[in-house]
Amino acid sequence: MKKDWPLWEVFIRSKSGLSHKHVGSLHATDEVMAIENARDVYTRRNEGVSIWVVESKYITASDPDDSDPFFEPAKDKVYRHPTFYDVPDEIKHM
């Protein structure tokens, strides 16, 4: 009979131009309440200009057991980074 309020994840854009960042979670019965609760809980100190909420159950996360095949292969691809390349000091704007 008793139903708990579902859990939501809250993402806040701290100022215009920045991405939304995960700040925490809260409980709410629907998206309207979730946005308002997020405002009341997570922006009390002027922390944000925009809020996203998503019900926690809709978040899909990568599995820690997949960490090696997922993330290790990117580690040795140094040629993707600008510092990999030698450019003479005289050359500017590159």
Partner: protein, 321 residues
């Protein structure tokens, strides 16, 4: 790659200061310890709202009233962040709250003392929040990611709490004789319970050793207590107030203050439920929970109805088509 068993791998991660995240493998005991500790911490924030909330309607100036409202509200927020951190471990807020209401879960014993004068609001901010901060700063480095992150946020917000308390004490200690007396009386009543906040002596502490190994805790109870005494004594001297401990004195050799023996009988007595306000605090939480049930249920029912209407309304169907 070395072939360590899961538990060894886990400990190796901790030793390497790699944070543990919700989906990572962890020993069941680590999970349980964390849920217990984080939820106790959350309960303490929520119960802690009561003694201070007790003075919101009697705050002596509009400025003080705003500060106190904001501070007690922060505690609700901190409770909420902490329950959320516990929920990442598979606990659920309502179950955790049930444990508080049924007396299964503990919370910080300090909140079982009454706030009998306005100066108590100052003393709580200065001493109780001061003691809590010692503990919380340590916890920002806890091995469990969501807990550490919640603590970072909490510590940031808490930074004004202690200062506002000290400001109240200062105003009163420098005020009229009656105010000074009020301030001294508050210090007399809150000093020892504040020292007790760090928990039993290291030798008698049930969970300490394992928690240190798991880096849920990084300093022992006695270390933190000493640190608190060392920073607080000069603050009391500045106020011109006397700490109620005849054995308190600077020890040149140790480079620390020596202080008197805590009344452990009182400590255990309050932990067991015999403090001056244990019953009232739990009763207040039970009342809020029970009185609020119909409100929480109404909100769920309304959200369900709204969902159903979305499904059956012709407009929604047309839009879906």
């Amino acid at each position: 790659m070395t072939h360590l068993n899961l538990e060894d791998q886990f400990q190796a991660k901790i030793d390497a200061e790699t944070k543990i995240e919700p989906k990572d493998w962890m020993p069941e005991a680590y999970r349980k310890t964390l849920i217990r500790q984080i939820s106790q911490h959350a309960h303490s924030e929520i119960v802690g709202m009561l003694p201070e909330g007790n003075w919101i309607t009697r705050a002596p100036s509009l400025r003080r009233k705003l500060i106190l409202l904001a501070k007690v509200q922060d505690e609700a927020g901190h409770g909420l962040y902490l329950y959320s951190a516990a929920e990442t471990l598979g606990a659920n807020r309502d179950e955790l709250v049930q444990q508080l209401l049924t007396g299964k879960a503990k919370y910080s014993s300090i909140f079982n003392y009454p706030t009998t004068s306005w100066a108590d609001i100052g003393a709580i901010g200065w001493l109780v929040d001061g003691a809590a901060i010692m503990n919380q700063v340590m916890l920002t480095r806890a091995s469990y990611g969501p807990y550490a992150r919640a603590m970072v946020r909490i510590c940031k917000e808490e930074s004004f709490h202690q200062r506002q308390g000290y400001e109240i004490m200062m105003t009163m200690a420098k005020g009229s004789p009656a105010q000074k007396q009020m301030a001294q009386d508050a210090l007399n009543r809150w000093w020892w319970p504040s020292l007790m906040m760090f928990g039993p002596k290291d030798d008698d502490s049930a969970h300490s050793e394992q928690s240190m190994k798991w880096k849920i805790k990084r300093k022992s109870n006695d270390e933190l207590r000493q640190q608190f005494v060392d920073v607080t004594v000069p603050q009391a001297e500045y106020l011109g107030l006397t700490i109620p401990d005849p054995d308190l004195q600077w020890n040149e050799d140790r480079g620390h203050y020596d202080f008197g023996e805590i009344n452990w009988e009182e400590f255990w007595n309050v932990v067991k439920g015999n403090g001056p306000c244990n019953r009232q605090r739990i009763q207040a939480r039970v009342k809020a929970y029970e009185d609020g049930a119909w409100v929480r249920e109404a909100a769920v029912a309304y959200a369900e109805k709204k969902d159903q209407r979305k499904l059956v309304s012709p407009k929604a169907q047309a839009e879906a088509a």
